[in-house]
């Protein structure tokens, strides 16, 4: 196989080749680095590329595998992390001028675990500033959607989604406090999992909101995301919010069998502002899942319409607290949108904030009730990506004319801590033809059922194998 073709293979296909020494980790890493050189100038997914270190690690992996010390399905596989994940000795910018030269002297748990599994870090990925900034402006400039470079990859894990779609890496790490893994996964036509709250340690991951932050895997296939989570998940004494819940063997969920699975379909709220062609793609995906054996069940999620206000009251307030010192001392270094959001949050009252936390309890109980009637809840995942120029710029102030309202389909999972996965389910008519995504949620710590559904769907479809028109 030509080295240049290796970048188009998912990790699950590369792993046996690496184990059998039919390809070398060095060859694979160099292929990724060549791909990054060729494509990143146009896509701008990477802020920092750790080429020399990656090749050194690849040589070490090659030696280990050759000596019979194979660590598992991620050994020798390249990956990249969102640039708010601390990597020891490697610049970690948070996409912000306030921390543009920060070089951590410690490693995040998530990257440490992936490294321990033998995966090879090739670089740090572009993002919206502190996971809350503008998709148009940022420290390293905007990331562009590989499916059409004048479109947004969505954020805040914009570089993660784009790097995967452009085949620069097979695996990436993102973070999600209000859709920041799932939105770019949808816009870039890749897979993104927001795990259960606490499933993956957040030690070393810059905080946006203590109550709502999640770290999760992104890949081009559900099977790859499952293998990533296997390495990432588990309790961490350095993160008090990390969960002690047992980590199951996720690969056992990749059976392709969803006979008898009850698939909840919401009857209210979540389809508001979903475009007709997006809804058509979702209904077609549901029809496919029914053909595969799932039973569709109508579900109502009460009080879902309040998710946006609840999330805003919690997320922005906690972000303002986290950045309190920075806002006092370096306000001018923030981008206008981030500064505006942080300062506006200082007007939130404690009563509003605690009321919002009480609403979280109501929503958690509601989702517990929902999952008594279904095994998986299907939700839309927004509409196709917007043009970059239509992304939020410097302010949340109402635009003239007003921006079209967007569906609110992500916050429910952050507010209740339930796991949620997005995978591609079609393309818009265009032009340009842009990816559309479908989202599935499950009860806490049941990522396995999400992998089961997602893998079954991907085994019966080929949306995830399409390639953006980047060549030439």
């Amino acid at each position: 196989m030509a080295a240049s073709e290796l970048v188009f293979r998912p990790a699950a296909e590369l792993a046996p080749l690496l184990k059998a020494r039919k390809i070398s980790p060095v060859e694979l890493v160099r292929a990724c680095l060549d791909r990054i050189d060729a494509v990143n100038p146009r896509v701008n997914a990477f802020i920092t590329v750790t080429g020399d270190q990656a090749v050194r690690e690849a040589r070490r992996a090659e030696h280990e595998i050759g000596a019979g010390r194979y660590r598992g399905p991620l050994h020798g596989v390249p990956y990249a992390v969102k640039d708010l994940v601390a990597t020891k000795g490697i610049r970690t910018t948070n996409g912000s001028r306030t921390t543009s030269n920060w070089i951590p002297d410690y490693e995040s748990t998530v990257s440490a675990r992936l490294n321990e599994a033998g995966a090879i870090l090739v670089g740090k990925l572009n993002l919206l500033e502190f996971a809350m900034g503008s998709g148009r402006h940022g420290l390293a400039g905007p990331t562009r959607n590989p499916w059409d470079l004048s479109y947004s990859p969505s954020g805040s894990s914009s570089g993660s989604g784009a790097a995967l779609a452009a085949h620069m890496v097979p695996l990436a790490v993102g973070s999600d406090s209000g859709g920041s893994i799932r939105n770019p996964a949808k816009s870039c036509g890749v897979v993104g999992l927001k795990p259960t709250y606490g499933r993956v340690s957040r030690f070393g991951v810059t905080t946006l909101s203590w109550s709502l932050d999640h770290v999760g895997p992104m890949a081009r296939t559900v099977a790859d995301a499952a293998r990533m989570l296997q390495a990432m998940a588990g309790a961490d004494p350095r993160d008090p919010a990390s969960a002690a819940a047992r980590v199951p063997e996720y690969s056992k969920a990749l059976t392709g069998n969803i006979h008898g699975l009850r698939m909840g379909v919401p009857t209210e709220h979540f389809f508001e502002h979903v475009h007709p062609e997006t809804e058509a793609a979702l209904r077609q995906a549901l029809s496919k899942l029914r053909d595969l054996g799932a039973a569709l069940v109508d579900v109502k999620v009460r009080n879902a319409a309040l998710c946006g206000a609840v999330s805003s009251a919690i997320l922005n307030t906690e972000a303002a607290v986290f950045h309190e010192k920075r806002l006092k001392e370096q306000a001018d270094l923030f981008s206008p949108l981030v500064r505006e959001r942080l300062e506006a949050a200082t007007f939130t009252t404690a009563i509003d904030y605690i009321k919002a936390k009480r609403m979280r309890t109501v929503l958690m109980e509601e989702m517990r009730r929902v999952f008594q009637t279904c095994d998986v809840l299907m939700l839309p995942s927004g509409n196709a990506a917007p043009k970059l120029e239509d992304e939020i710029g410097d302010t949340d102030a109402p635009a003239d004319p007003p921006a079209p309202p967007r569906p609110d389909t992500y916050n429910i999972a952050n507010l209740t801590g339930i796991p949620a996965i997005v995978l591609p389910c079609g393309f818009s008519a265009g032009p340009p033809a842009l990816p559309l995504g479908i989202q599935f949620c499950a009860k806490p710590f049941d990522e396995a059922v999400l992998f089961r559904v997602g893998h079954a769907y991907q085994s019966a479809t080929d949306w995830h194998r399409r390639r953006p028109p980047l060549e030439g």
Binding site: E340, A344, F347, D352, M359
Partner: protein, 89 residues
């Protein structure tokens, strides 16, 4: 108005300003228009002391959020509902 002058407000005026800034007089679904003077007083009371330039930037943003925030405030919760700390499994 200097910071010292702005601190010398009557209790009645302060509470009035806080209530206006919090949008408690707004009906559900309606934006609350709020004056720069109110925002200045609240910012001073909170200790953030944002400049008038900053407050002018924030004013339309806060007004735009008031309707959604009011919907949250209007939601009736039973006394037994405690704030979520972590998640319910």
């Amino acid at each position: 108005m200097t910071i010292r002058e702005s601190m010398n407000v009557s209790r009645r005026r302060l509470f009035h300003c806080l209530a206006l800034a919090a949008g408690s007089q707004a009906g559900a679904g309606a934006e609350t228009a709020v004056s720069l003077d109110v925002l200045r007083t609240v910012s001073s009371f909170h200790g953030t002391n944002l400049s008038d330039d900053r407050l002018r930037v924030l004013k339309p943003v806060l007004e735009n959020r008031s309707a959604a925030l009011q919907a949250l405030r209007d939601f009736d919760l039973d006394d037994s509902v405690a704030p979520a700390e972590g998640i319910v499994v």
